[in-house]
Amino acid sequence: MKPTSRLGVFILVAPAVLLYSFAVLLPFIGTIVLSFMRWDGFDSPTFAGIANYTRAFADAIFRSTFIHVGIYIVATLFLEVLLGLLLAGFTSSLKHSSFYRIALFIPVMLPMVVIAVLWRAIFNSDYGILNAILSSFGLASWQHIWLGDTKTALLSICFVSGWVFSGFYMAIFTAALNRLPSDVIESARLDGSGEMNIFTKIKVPMIRQVTSIAILICITGGLQGFDLFYVLTDGGPYHTTEVPTTFMVKSVFRDGEFGYGSALAIIVSLIGLSMALIFNIWQKRTRVDVEY
């Protein structure tokens, strides 16, 4: 339709556009510009060309953040997405399953910082329950300073992340499984297929669209991970849990390296964006005709 008045359109669209431009779009463009500058936040910035980028690619700590975040993403693909799929498969074939669905989603909607502070207490070597449980099972030799040990810190974070988000992916998969047409599954059951076979050979392939979205969310979300890492270890011990965002925040807000931090920000964002793009192209190619 044509609008009744131009002023009307302006009033409807302007607030959203202005607010979004002021707080997201302009700062985004500014960050791109700043990534080619050298700036300590006080003096006037000087042009640096691609120096910040070449420095980033040569920075051993920054490069190591991608190894850490890579380990984190792979671990959470198992602990969150795969576990969520299995939990959804288990509960969707049970009659009284709403309790599980409600209970396992609780950590998802709580603030990540609150969960991180709680798990910091669980891992605590003085009063934490993890070591207490281990010693009560006679496994005192398994006790660790979980978050302070370079061998266990990153895995502990992955574990907490799995504890939080397995319920989230379970909810996504449960919704997808419930939307499946029941006649297909009924006829497979009449043909004598076991529940296990129905799940792995019929249900899982039918929800693969949802599965690929879940994997994308897990990867892009993992790349942006900050809260858990900041509260549990803040990148330590010895940078073994340093991820791109914790490193970026330190570069800018502790070392005052605004240009360098911006270059890191743009690199990380570009990686996330290209993953989403590749995913979209791949999705269009393999799109199935039926919408579930």
């Binding site: 044509k2 707080a23 500014g30 396992l104 989603f105 990540m112 003085d126 979205i213 892009t220």
Partner: protein, 272 residues
């Protein structure tokens, strides 16, 4: 058949216990003294005193943090709902110059992570003296929520029959009237999803709150709890009381509205 079902129940129940045990431990530890907590971390409390909650709420500042979170969440969610429903309506139903490029800009916003702009946003807020004010969180929370909100609302309006809007036009309704009296009521399901997603995102947001608000009296629950936990680092009981106070009301709200909250969060994440 029956054994298999019981085995499944057993597995999922065991996992649910694992998922809820930390929260249960947090809850009952807030009734134990510091000595009990450090000597026998697993034991159940022997008595129930609620004084520590009042102490954490008033002296520890949890009450103040909760109030700040409520203000930031309510204000940013209200701004998202009004601005995005207006823009979503115009972009879906009205043809005007520039509407295509505006849609492209907002789609870009769906893809941009907060990392791609928070460094300059920080400078901008410093320039305009917005840091350490309530606006330092309300403005970014609202503007970060707008792209997804517009997308969800626009898709919802796109799916409505166009005759509805044509009929309103023939009856002589202006666009503003159509928005207020026809569209606002019928897009309520989309608004519920948008509202839940925006509100929870704002309530739980940490990175920007950490960077933009240093003033103790303006901190929200995530950053406030963090400074609380470093202030009472050896007072375990206080820490557990604070954790209990910020989680239990949320869990109660969630259990009451679990269907809408699960739908809101998963839809928001999947579509975003």
């Amino acid at each position: 058949m029956k054994i298999r079902r019981w085995a499944l129940h057993l597995v999922v129940t065991a996992y649910s216990i694992f998922a809820l045990a930390p929260l249960f431990w947090m809850f009952y530890s807030s009734f134990k003294t510091n000595a009990q907590i450090s000597q026998s971390p697993l034991s159940l409390p022997t008595s129930f005193h609620f004084g520590v909650f009042a102490q954490a709420w008033r002296i520890g500042g949890i009450g103040k943090y909760a109030m700040n979170s409520i203000i930031a969440t309510a204000a940013s969610t209200a701004i998202v709902l009004t601005t995005a429903s207006m823009a979503g309506f115009a972009l879906s139903r009205l043809k005007f110059a520039g509407s295509k490029s505006i849609i492209v800009l907002f789609t870009l916003g769906l893809l941009l992570p907060v990392q791609s702009y928070f460094i300059m946003q920080n400078q901008e807020f410093e320039l305009f003296n917005l840091k350490d004010t309530r606006w330092a969180l309300i403005i970014p929370y609202a503007s970060m929520g707008i792209p997804l909100a517009i997308w969800l609302i626009k898709t919802y309006i796109d799916s409505l029959p166009k005759e509805l809007f044509e009929a309103a036009r023939i009856d002589g309704s202006t666009d503003m009237q159509t928005y207020r009296f026809l569209m606002f009521p019928i897009i309520r399901p989309a608004l519920v999803t948008v509202g839940i997603f925006s509100a929870l995102s704002a309530w739980n947001e940490f990175l920007l709150a950490l960077l933009y608000v240093q003033d103790e009296s303006l901190k929200t629950i995530p950053t406030g709890l963090l400074s609380f936990s470093s202030k009472y680092v050896t007072d375990y009981q206080m820490l557990f009381a604070a954790l209990t106070m910020v989680t239990v009301p949320m869990i109660a709200l969630y259990v009451a509205f679990n269907r809408q909250i699960v739908a809101g969060l998963t839809q928001g994440a999947v579509k975003g």
